[in-house]
Amino acid sequence: MADPQLKEKVEELIAANPVLLFMKGTPEMPRCGFSMRVVQVLDTMDVEYGAIDVLPALQPLREVTTEISDWQTFPQLYVNGELLGGADIVEEMFASGELAEALGVEQPAEAPQQAAPAQSPPLQIE
């Protein structure tokens, strides 16, 4: 059972930020390869977004998002109050143009910069 106060706080944040990313680390210093990939896509979209580092309260936040969105893993991108997805979904929707549509922006011409080189797999903290 999630902490009701934390859950309320998270719901307020999701309602207050049209584009909100729950991630491991910060946009400037992502602490997980999956989170970094979503940051790269959002930066390419040139869209304003809020970012929350989940690492200081990973387990409590996991319990909250499980109740709110039936989703346990981070990153999580919320657009207009709805969970859009994690790194896989965000990248797929970016490639197909659905992300630009969901965000209400033009599809950028350039591809997001390449993530970490192939030989270093994304960091998974757990």
Binding site: D70, W71, L83, L84, G86, D88, I89, P121
Partner: protein, 68 residues
């Protein structure tokens, strides 16, 4: 497990690290028709939930498509 949960689905799993715990699954299923990507992924993750809970899998990348 995925194919059992989603009858008629085509599932391809790639072992990304060779250790068997970081997997990439491509799932094509008729059940995905008309539902959002996040719901498609929820179905796949629900199917393998046990394997996450017992620690067999640490990371699973999912790609879904609607089977026609």
């Amino acid at each position: 497990m995925i194919a059992v949960a989603l009858p008629g689905a085509t599932v391809e799993v790639v072992d990304e690290t060779g250790a068997g715990d970081h997997l990439r699954a491509t799932v094509s299923a008729p059940q995905f028709e008309g539902i959002s990507r996040i719901d498609q992924h929820r179905l796949v993750k629900a199917a393998v939930k046990e394997r996450f809970e017992d620690g067999t899998i640490h990371a699973l990348s999912v790609k879904t498509e609607v089977a026609r």
